[in-house]
Assembly symmetry: C2
Homo-oligomer: 365 residues x 2
C-alpha cells in the first residue's frame, strides 16, 4: 500500500508573488517570518510588502530567525504573532525561516502553559490548528515549502528534531528564480546538493513507492541538467527556476518517504561544526550510496547524467570544499546520537553504530 498527499498549491515562475496577490493574502493581518538577510537580499521581502501595501493589509516582520532555528525562539515568535494579532504567516527564506514559520504558526495559536509544554509540539499534542501560511523559498534545497515537516534545534539533546503536522503544509508556495539568482555560489551548491540528497534518499528509501519514484527521478534529471552550471557558477534565471522546482520535487518525495542516515548523520556536522546542512549531506551521500542496491543507484546516476558512483564522488568533491578536519573521537560521539534517529529505519539496509562510524570515517577523514 502506498499514499500520496501534498495539498500545497505550487506556483512557479518569474514574478509569481506580485501577479498572484489573491494566493499570497490568505488573511487580514500578516506576520512575515524571515531571516536577518535572506528576505531583503533576495528581493522577495520587497515584493511581498508591495503586494500587502497595495492591498492595504497590515503586517509585522519577524526577522529574528537564525540558521537552524531553536525551539525557544519559536515560542517567542508565537508570542509575537499573538501580540500582532496576525491571522496568517508569510514565510520568506531557506529551510530555517520556513521550518520556523511552521513552529511559530503552532505556538501562535497554542500558548505554552501547564497543558501545553514546549516539547509537546513534537508529539502533535496541540489543540488549535496553526495559523495558515504561505511560503516563498529563497534557496533551492530544503523543499520545506511543500512538506509538513519542521526541523528544530534542541540544545538540550545536542541535535535537531522534527515534527510533522498536516496543518503545517503551506497553502501556497511561490517559486521565483529571481529570488535565488544572487545567492553566493557556495550556498547555491550546498542547497542543490541538499535537494539532490532528498531525491536520492527518497528514491533509495525503504518507503520508496510508485508515487515517489518517478518524482525523484524527474527531480534528479532536472538537477542533472544544471550540474555544469553549479560547478562553473553560471546559473541563469532558467536554471534557478528549474532548481527551485527540483527542490520542491525533493520535498514532495521526502514527505512520502522520509530521509535516511545521510540526513541524520549530517545533523551532527551541522550542530557541532556549523557545517551547512546541504554540504554535510553531500559529504556523506557517497558512502551511503556505496551500500545501496546497484539498480537503484544506477537509476539515480542515469537521471543525473553521471557515469559512475566514482564520478559522482569526484563531482561532489569539486563543488563541496572541506572546511575543517575531523577526528575519530568526535565521530564516535556523533554516532551515539545519530544512530538513535528515526530515519535510520528507512535505510534500505540495516545500519549499526559501527557502520555509521565507518561511514563517518570514510567520508570525513
Amino acid at each position: 500500500m502506498f499514499k500520496f498527499h501534498m495539498p500545497t498549491k505550487v506556483i512557479v515562475g518569474e514574478n509569481c508573488v506580485t501577479t498572484n496577490p489573491q494566493e499570497l493574502i490568505i488573511g487580514t493581518r500578516a506576520l512575515i517570518v524571515t531571516g536577518k538577510s535572506s528576505g531583503k537580499k533576495s528581493g522577495a521581502l520587497d515584493d511581498v510588502i508591495s503586494v500587502l501595501e497595495n492591498e492595504k493589509i497590515p503586517y509585522h516582520v519577524y526577522d529574528k530567525v537564525e540558521n537552524n532555528p531553536e525551539i525557544n525562539d519559536m515560542i517567542k515568535g508565537g508570542i509575537f504573532a499573538r501580540e500582532c494579532q496576525a491571522d496568517f504567516i508569510i514565510s520568506i527564506g531557506g529551510g530555517s525561516p520556513m521550518d520556523a514559520a511552521k513552529a511559530i504558526g503552532v505556538y501562535a495559536t497554542n500558548e505554552v502553559n501547564e497543558g501545553f509544554q514546549p516539547y509537546d509540539i513534537f508529539t502533535g499534542k496541540y489543540k488549535n490548528k496553526p495559523l495558515p501560511m504561505v511560503a516563498i523559498p529563497t534557496t533551492s534545497g530544503t523543499g520545506s515549502e511543500v512538506t509538513p515537516y519542521s526541523i528544530l534545534t534542541l540544545h538540550k539533546e545536542k541535535t535537531k528534531r522534527s515534527f510533522s503536522c498536516v496543518d503545517c503544509f503551506f497553502k501556497t508556495a511561490f517559486l521565483d528564480g529571481r529570488y535565488t539568482i544572487s545567492l553566493p555560489l557556495q550556498v547555491a551548491r550546498n542547497t542543490a546538493v541538499d535537494a539532490m540528497c532528498h531525491l536520492i534518499e527518497g528514491y533509495t528509501n525503504k518507503k520508496a513507492s510508485p508515487s515517489s519514484d518517478y518524482m525523484a527521478l524527474e527531480g534528479l534529471r532536472i538537477i542533472g541538467k544544471h550540474l555544469n552550471a553549479l560547478e562553473n557558477g553560471n546559473l541563469d534565471i532558467n536554471a534557478c527556476t528549474e532548481l527551485l522546482w527540483a527542490s520542491s520535487l525533493g520535498g514532495i518525495v521526502i514527505s512520502q518517504t522520509g530521509t535516511t542516515i545521510v540526513h541524520s548523520m549530517g545533523y551532527a556536522l551541522t550542530y557541532f561544526c556549523d557545517i551547512p546542512h546541504g554540504m554535510a549531506n553531500g559529504y556523506l551521500v557517497y558512502e551511503y550510496l556505496k551500500r545501496v542496491d546497484s539498480v537503484r543507484v544506477s537509476n539515480c546516476l542515469c537521471a543525473l547524467g553521471i557515469k559512475s558512483l566514482e564520478n559522482f564522488k569526484e563531482y561532489l568533491k569539486k563543488i563541496l570544499p572541506r572546511v575543517r578536519n575531523f577526528n575519530e573521537k568526535e565521530i564516535i560521539d556523533w554516532s551515539e546520537i545519530s544512530i538513535k534517529a528515526r530515519n535510520v529505519a528507512s535505510c534500505p539496509y540495516e545500519v549499526t553504530r559501527e557502520m555509521e562510524i565507518e561511514i563517518y570515517k570514510s567520508s570525513l577523514m
Copy 2:
C-alpha cells in the same frame, strides 16, 4: 509560469478502505453516492458499509446516479442529502457517480431558489462550501477522484458541461484493484483508453508544463505495461491497481492542463449515440494526434512502448469495436456543438469547424 495543485490524499492498495477507517469517515452522517450496480458489484459498497457499521456511523445510500448524470437528478440528490442530514459524502463508482457526488455536494449545501439557480453551479456562484467528500473509483479511467471537475449532462443544450470547484476535490481517494478486477473486459478497455487520452491530451496540450509532463509520461508508461493484458483480457490484481494509479495520474494531469478536442468531440458520440465516453475518445485520438508536433507524439508512443502512430491506430481498432455506423449529416451537426467547447483553445494547433468535420469523418466513416 506554471502551477501544481492536487490536495486529495490518494491511498493505493488492496483493502485500503477497510484498513483506513479514519480517512473514510470524515463526518458524523454519511451519504453514499453510487450508481445502480457499480458499488455493489465491485464489492466497494460492502467494504464501506462494514466500516461505517463498525464505527457506528449512520448512513443513507443514494444509488440513483445514471451514466452521464443529468443536472436535475443532481438537484434531487442535494435535497435527499439535506433530508438525511448527511454531513459528508462517500462516492463509489466510475466517473458518473464521482461527478455526481461533487454536484450533489454543492446542491446539498446550496438550496436551489431565487438567489441560486440550477445553472449557477457552472459559474461557481454558490455561497456555501459543498459537503466534504471521499471517493472510491470502481473503474480506472475518469480520474475524477483527483480532479476539481464535474461533468454534467444538459438536455437543453444537447451536450455535457463541466464545472470546476477547488472545494470539490475529494479529501481522500481510495484506489483498490479488487474493485476493478471483475469489470467486463470492454469496460476495462474503454476506461483505460479514457485514462490514456487524459495523459496524451494533457501532454500535448497547449497548457502542458513541467509539472504535468513527467506525470503524463509516467502514466503512459504504466498503461504501456498493460496493453497486452488489456487486449487479451488477463488483467490481474497488480495490473488493476496500477491502471487505477495511472488513471489518477491522468486526472492530476488534466487538472492542470484540461483536455482537448478529443474530449469535446467525443461528448457528441456519447450524448447522441450512447457510445461509452472512453470508447468515443479512443475513436478520435489518432486523428487528433496526427496533427500534433511529432516530438510530443513520439514521447507519448515511446512511453506506451508503441512503435508508430499507425501501430497505435491498429491497437485501438483491435480493442475498441465499432458499435454503429455514422453519416455525414450527423457529423456536421455535432461539429456545430463541439467547436464551441472551451477546450478547443487548449489544442496545440488551431482548430476550425471544418477540421473537426474532417477529424470526425476520418475517424468514424
